[in-house]
Every structure is written in structure tokens, then in C-alpha cells.
Amino acid sequence: MSVPAAERIRKAIAVVNAAADGAGDEEITPTEIAEAIRDCLELPEIASIPNVRKYLGEALDATSDGMPADFVAMTLYAALGALREGHSLN
């Protein structure tokens, strides 16, 4: 699996999870979540792997639509799964 891509998606998941769980001393805005997802979309290596870009795009749309953080997280997990699957097929 592409380590930088996986790491960036994991980072985006961590940001979303932190927004959902809330440690109490910070507030994560949808803009920060969107930035973390855009960082993933910028990676050239995801273009060749089916569905990763699609799921990331869906996660970004869900964020801007104000969908619950858990929904965004689940879509990002799907992107991570597609990335892993894509690499095992290649």
C-alpha cells in the first residue's frame, strides 16, 4: 500500500474522529476536515487506484453538506480500504 497516501487518509480519519469524540479543549471545524481530505486528493498516486478518489470526493462532499462526522469517517475508511485493495491487486 502507498504509505504516504495511507498516512494522509489516516490523518484525515483522525481529524474527523477527534471532531466526533471531542477532547474538550479544542474545536475542529469542517474547514479543517475538508483541508485534511483535500490533502489526500492532491496525491498523484491515488489516481491509478479505483474508487479511492471517488470515496475521498464523497467524504469531501459529505463534509461540506454538514453530514455527521461518523458518516465522513466511514467514507474515509472506505477510501483506505479501496487503497489497500488496489495495491493488493497491482
Binding site: 474522529n17 466526533a20 469524540d21 477532547a23 461518523d70 466511514m74 475508511y77
Partner: protein
């Protein structure tokens, strides 16, 4: 509920003294610091009794919403091929679902990553049964609860060290629920303060001395 008071020179010694009296391990107890001075620490150690909760769970009717959520998670696990039972933790708010069974390590994953994913999926599945902003907590083999106890102990130990040295301590990177457990454990301490630094997933709690003005 069984409990015992422990005294010792350090927090560890005080907890150990109470554990010996109770014949319990750290895994099954909750620790509350009653008094702390440079010479002596006094703690109250309370045994968390899962059998008592299980008995209460069978005796107490679970509300309809919690039961719906419980059966949805049980169904998901069945589809995943995981043999496990799901129970609603009594008196929990938000609704907390306890998953138990054999060899559920894979369901917890590295540092609880898979458990966190399972919680996300569960919340998406049950969302329409919940009120706005309401969420469900999923725990596997009480991992989350144990982890909260562990980080609370880490927080108390860090606080003690900060009081002795006057220097701030940066803890390991933790998930949001773990950081929250630390902030809650230390919020009543007049001598130390906690805050988080860094970016996810490397965000860490810093425990430092409370300045007089704070």
C-alpha cells in the same frame, strides 16, 4: 460495591496497598486520589464489578431505542462473521454497547483503531433512530473503559511528577477520548493544568504547573 483505602509514599504504593487488601488487579478497579502530599498519598480504590452490571442488565429493562441499536450492532457483527454478544451498559449516557466474546482482538485493532471504525459504522447505521447530536459508544471487551482507566492513572502520575519538579510533561499521542479522560482527571487539581498540542493523529496532552493567575 467493594472499595478500599490505600496509603503509601507514592501513588503506585497507595494503589498497590489497596489492591492487596481487595485482592484485585488494576484492570478491574477505578482509582480516586483522596489526599496527596509530599509524604503520603491516600487513594480510594473501587472495584468495577462486571457481574453486578450483567445481573442488573438482565433485570433492568433496556429502553426501546437502546435495544434497537443493540440488535443492529449484533446483526452487523453476525454479517462480519464475528461471534460475539452485545449488551447495553446499564445507566450509560450516551448509550454504550458492550461487545463481548472470544478472541475479539481483531475487533479492537492497533490502539483501538478498528474499534473506532466499528463505532463510526454503527453510528451511521443507527443514526435515524437517534436524536440530533446523539451518539452511540461501542466498547469491545471493555477495552475503551480499561484504556480510560489507564490514561487516568498516567494523568495522575504525570500530575504528581509535575508538582514535584515544576516542569511540564508531554504525554504520548492519544485519541480524543483518551485526551478527554486526562483533562477530566486533572480538571479539579488546583496545582496542574492540561492542554493538547500538535496535529492529529500525533496530538498529545501536556500536563504542566498551573500558574497563579489561572
Amino acid at each position: 460495591m467493594r472499595s478500599a483505602e490505600g496509603r503509601g509514599r507514592t501513588l503506585d504504593e497507595a494503589v498497590d496497598a489497596a489492591l492487596i487488601e481487595l485482592g484485585e488487579t488494576r484492570r478491574n478497579v477505578d482509582v480516586k486520589v483522596l489526599r496527596e502530599s509530599p509524604d503520603e498519598t491516600v487513594v480510594e480504590v473501587v472495584v468495577i464489578d462486571p457481574t453486578a452490571e450483567a445481573t442488573a442488565s438482565s433485570a433492568t429493562p433496556v429502553n426501546g431505542k437502546a435495544e434497537t441499536v443493540r440488535s443492529l450492532l449484533e446483526g452487523l457483527l453476525k454479517h462480519m462473521g464475528v461471534r460475539a454478544s452485545v449488551q447495553v451498559r446499564v445507566g450509560s449516557d450516551p448509550i454504550t454497547l458492550d461487545v463481548s466474546g472470544h478472541d475479539l482482538g481483531a475487533l479492537i485493532g492497533w490502539r483501538g483503531e478498528t474499534l473506532r471504525a466499528l463505532q463510526s459504522v454503527t453510528n451511521v447505521m443507527v443514526g435515524k433512530h437517534l436524536n440530533e447530536g446523539e451518539r452511540v459508544i461501542v466498547d469491545v471487551e471493555r477495552y475503551r473503559q480499561r484504556r480510560e482507566h489507564t490514561v487516568r492513572e498516567i494523568a495522575l502520575r504525570a500530575a504528581r511528577q509535575v508538582k514535584m519538579t515544576g516542569d511540564a510533561i508531554t504525554l504520548d499521542a492519544m485519541q480524543a477520548f483518551e485526551r478527554r479522560a486526562i483533562h477530566l482527571a486533572l480538571e479539579g487539581d488546583p496545582d496542574v493544568t492540561s492542554s493538547s498540542i500538535g496535529e492529529e493523529p500525533e496530538r498529545r496532552v501536556v500536563v504542566g504547573p498551573r500558574k497563579p493567575a489561572e
